[in-house]
């Protein structure tokens, strides 16, 4: 038998005996001694504390060593024996000074891990609720001494798919490359850990393949790993985009979906959708001085008219005729979230450019295609009128709306190879200021007219998966052309939302009114807005 004692005589204890042990004042004294009367959320976060325990110890010990040496030198002249009490006092100082590399701003609000218990000797595939798969070969896990782990291992996994997830995670989204700071636009991020007998596994003997689900099809992303020691992202590889694979039943550990719910969802998913013609778009008439031709795959861009050119949106991008003569190493056209807008990505050596543009045609071509457009539109409208309603189709509440169907079909996976436990991200680094355009010196005041002191401010463009956050807390990167949501995280642990109407008219130095919410209410508001 193991180290448990089994008994069929349950230990008994009376109410009076239990009451004798009650001592709330003693508990209160310990609380006050440990944290002071008002512990800050950062100091009490459960999962973040768990995360830092392993290597936080190392830093604490190093700091103790450094302080102890200093203390030794400074007291040499006195000959005082300080060897006993110094270490105790300084270890406290060292732990208080330690700042975790990843700090969720609202402890407990961050996406929690889902735990999958697997047999370390079997190759298995975990399928998460979001459809991401984690493929683990047998004998992947090794202990601190490099020995293969035998038995059950708990795989901990969580993924972040939108700016709110990212905000709640506290994961830094800035990438320092040779002193140049970029902001990441994310196409999918996850945190992968493993535990064996309650201890974190610090390395994997084999790569674990993660196919993370995302909606973005662009090939401009790279894979990065967040190095908690250097506190910076490490470039791994160019992101690999896969078509969504059929999941395998055998050997898979599906996240638990209640049978009742699964049976309701399946008919809607498995019912073939009617063939849907794409809504035709009439190309704009070419009017500006800068335009270019670009070859594109009509299957990827069914909405584009073959033969159209791309006109530079000069309100959004600066363009020089000199660009025409450059032989670019990489030219890539990507649809943007804004309707009828495309991003032209140009790369040559270290020179990287992004130009916003839209499809356009010449007057002569316009006249010719207008008729074709009208015909196509008529066909589309007839098809649309003939579609049954959700009830008529017999799908009840589970009818997949056109938009939902489009989302389903646009889902892709990106393959990331994980050699170490930790946070991985498929990202596109971008210059935040260039993307936004306006750098504003901001002061924030609450409804009572009091100045609000932000720890950090955040800017999100609706429909764009990036969290912009200026290092200087009184500085905002804004754009009057973009639909932005701006908030501050205050020293009082409140979320202050900037009113949307103030984001279309501002000067270089501006005072913004914020509506303050406690952290939970603020998160609920952000969830609605994002």
């Amino acid at each position: 038998m193991s180290n448990r004692i089994y008994t069929n005589n349950k230990p008994k204890i009376t109410d009076a005996e239990i009451d004798a042990y009650q001592d709330f004042d003693a508990v209160l004294n310990k609380v006050t001694a440990n944290t002071g009367p008002n512990p800050s959320p950062e100091s009490v976060g459960t999962s973040y504390l768990k995360d830092i325990v392993g290597w936080g110890k190392g830093l604490a010990i190093a700091a103790v060593g450094a302080v102890a040496i200093w203390f030794g030198i400074s007291t040499m002249g006195t000959g005082a024996d300080t060897s006993n009490n110094v270490v105790v006092a300084d270890s406290t100082v060292a732990e208080e000074q330690f700042v975790a590399p990843i700090q969720p701003p609202i402890p407990g609000a961050e996406t929690q891990y889902t735990t999958y218990t697997i047999d370390a000797q079997k190759s298995q595939k975990i399928i998460t609720d979001d459809g991401t798969t984690v493929s683990i070969e047998k004998n992947t896990f090794v202990d601190a001494d490099g020995n293969t782990i035998v038995g059950e291992v708990e795989v901990l996994f969580r993924e972040y798919h939108n700016p709110l997830d990212i905000f709640k995670s506290g994961i830094p989204m800035e990438y320092d490359s040779a002193g140049q700071v970029y902001t990441f636009e994310s196409a999918g991020m996850f945190d992968l850990q493993a535990e064996y007998k309650g201890e974190r596994v610090s390395t994997f003997a084999k790569e674990r393949v993660v196919d993370i689900v995302g909606e973005n099809r662009s090939t401009k992303y790279n894979d990065y790993y967040y190095d908690t020691t250097t506190r910076n992202w490490s470039y791994l590889a160019k992101s690999t985009l896969n078509p969504l694979e059929e999941t395998e039943d055998e050997g898979s550990l599906e996240a638990e979906v209640p049978t009742a719910i699964a049976s309701e969802i399946e008919p809607a998913i498995n019912t073939p959708a009617p063939t849907q013609p794409t809504m035709p778009k009439l190309p704009a008439l070419l009017s500006a001085k800068y335009a270019f031709e670009a070859e594109f795959d009509a299957r990827k861009f069914p909405e584009l008219y073959k033969g159209c050119v791309f006109q530079v949106d000069e309100t959004q991008s600066t363009f020089s005729p000199a660009y025409y003569s450059v032989k670019w190493d990489m030219v890539e056209l990507t649809p943007m979230d804004v309707s009828n807008r495309y991003n032209l990505h140009l790369e040559k050596g270290s020179q990287v450019m992004d130009v916003q543009c839209f499809p356009a045609i010449t007057q002569q071509e316009y006249n010719r295609v207008k008729k074709a457009y009208d015909d196509s539109l008529q066909v589309y409208q007839q098809w649309q009128a003939a579609q049954p309603t959700a009830q008529q189709a017999g799908w009840g509440d589970h009818f997949l709306a056109e938009e939902e169907y489009a989302i389903m079909n646009s889902v892709n996976t990106r393959r990331v190879r994980a050699r170490l436990p930790g946070v991985y991200n498929c990202d596109h680094p971008m210059f935040a200021q260039k993307y936004m355009g306006d750098r504003v010196q901001a002061t924030f005041i609450d409804a009572a007219g009091q100045t609000v002191a932000p720890i950090r401010n955040y800017v999100v463009e609706r429909g764009f998966n990036a969290l912009f956050s200026a290092r200087n807390n009184n500085e905002l990167l804004l754009s009057k052309q973009k639909k932005l949501i701006v908030w501050v995280w205050t020293q009082d642990h409140q979320i202050g939302l900037v009113r949307g109407d103030q984001l279309t008219q501002y000067s270089k130095t501006e005072t913004f009114d914020v509506e303050l919410y406690d952290s939970r209410e603020g998160l609920a508001m952000l969830e609605k807005l994002l």
Binding site: M1, S2, N3, R4, I5, Y6, T7, N8, N9, K10, P11, I13, D15, E17, I18, D19, Y21, Q22, D23, F24, A26, V27, L28, K30, V31, T32, N34, T35, P37, N38, P39, S40, P41, S43, V44, G45, T46, P107, G108, A109, Q112, T114, E152, G198, A255, E256, V257, P258, H493, R520
Partner: protein
Amino acid sequence: MKQMIKITPSEEYAIVQASLTNPSEFRVIYERYYADVFRFVFSKVNDSDQTADIVSNTFVKVITKLASYTYKGYSIKNWIVRIAYNETMEFFRKSAKQPTVSIEDENLQHIAEELEVDRGLTFYEICPFLDRLDDQELTLIELRYFDRMKIREIAEIMDFTEAKTRVVIHRILKKLNKQIKEEVQHEQ
């Protein structure tokens, strides 16, 4: 018998919020759940002094972690029990003491029915199978079949979703069932 004042979950949450700035406000919740938490720990530790230490540490952690508590419309009790469970496991990891697993006869019958063992199981028959379970698996079985807790309560204590709790318990039962059947066949 001590008279307990009834507090609704939302009233408890108001106390939690007040305790964030003034921890002494937490006294009401402490007094309300102290005995429940004590019994939960005591059933595993089987030593009243050690249990009192663990429960004291539990409440210190509860108060210092209040900011991370998420109110879901239920009582805070199971969140406190979750912390007590972690503290108890930590105690066993650090000490040489062996945890106690108490199986009363009526509960034995209950789990035998769940395992579809028609002839029932004796205490001495089931122990070797329970012993093959890891700590978390055994805790789930204890909470469900020995402490007769609801799935939602167990989910709150283990920090699982209800769906996950159901599935994990189902898998454990399936595993136990398979092992018991194999053993029976082997004996035959």
